[in-house]
């Protein structure tokens, strides 16, 4: 970042920033929340719309990654079937810490329209993996998804190396 220049005493020049370690690390992390590139149902279409140029989720530093090993955030975008739930859990466990989950849409929040007769649907992805932010809607508009992402960023901003997360 070029915080220090090559002069003997860097404090003599103006090219210096003083900040807290937590603030710097949190700022870096919340500005590059790479997301797992996978979609489950129709919410994934809204997720794609949010990624496209009109809403441009990339300006928040969100880049879709093809591997859970490189991801910080997982968007559960759609209906989690029981068959998919085991795979979702596996993908979650493959992600390195710290990791965040956004549950997008009614289906992954609580089962959505399948809550009563959906024999194959998990009634809420929080039965399998911990969720940080729930985005309501069926499906949520891209603005709502961006709002959810900003909530995650606020959460990251409050975290600390010394203390456990608030």
């Amino acid at each position: 970042m070029g915080l220090l220049n090559k002069q003997d005493n860097p404090f003599e020049s103006s090219n210096i920033i003083i900040t807290g370690a937590d603030t710097l690390l949190n700022w870096a992390r919340l500005s590059s929340l790479w997301m797992m590139g996978f979609g489950l149902a129709c919410c994934a279409i809204e997720m794609m719309a949010a990624s496209a140029s009109h809403y441009d989720i990339g300006r928040f530093g969100v880049i879709p990654r093809p591997s859970p090993r490189q991801s910080d955030i997982m968007l559960i975008s759609g209906t989690v079937t029981l068959k998919m739930a085991t795979r979702t859990k596996l993908l979650y466990e493959q992600m390195p810490d710290p990791k965040y989950i956004i549950s997008m849409g009614s289906c992954s929040n609580c089962g959505g329209p399948y809550w009563e007769h959906g024999y194959h649907v998990l009634k809420g992805v929080d039965r399998v993996i911990p969720v940080d932010v729930y985005v309501p809607g069926c499906p949520p508009r891209p603005e709502a998804l961006l709002e959810g992402l900003i909530k995650v960023q606020e959460k990251v901003r409050k975290q600390s190396l010394a203390k456990t997360a608030v």
């Binding site: 029981l82 068959k83 739930a85 085991t86 609580c110 089962g111 809550w115 009563e116 024999y119 194959h120 998990l122 009634k123 039965r127 399998v128």
Partner: protein, 166 residues
Amino acid sequence: MTNTEIYDKLKAAFGEKIGEWHEQSGGEYMKRMSSYADITDTSYIRDVCLYLRDEAELEFDSLLLLSSVDNGDKTLSVTYHLESKSKKHFIALKVTVPIDNAIVPSITDVWSHANWQEREAWDMMGIKFLNHPDMRRILLDEDWVGHPLRKDYKHPEFYRGMKVPY
């Protein structure tokens, strides 16, 4: 040919094996697509299909749809919608089997795209297809218990440790 003409031709070829013609009300399209012929002897369905495919005048080259129904009176039905792309005519056939002995001959060797549709009928409705090359579940996992689209299906309490009801 109209589908009643095709039915008459079938009746002439197979006699008693072909049951009643069920003419549906409605517009021309509804009449053409949802009127159907019963096949009284289930074991003949493959022969009837072979005849429909190979007879020069009929030339049914395509199975549009293979679907299954739980009639609610301890019987299951399989409906075959057939189309001839070259002759531009349609017919629908229906076989009915008892729920505790639901076995229907496979027509995979007549039209190979019956393969997955028969697997779906097995998965959802529990109809076994005789001489099918690969009679496995297609949508649900192999360890699933029961056939969920049957009217007497009971939702499981747990599946692989995940709670299923809301």
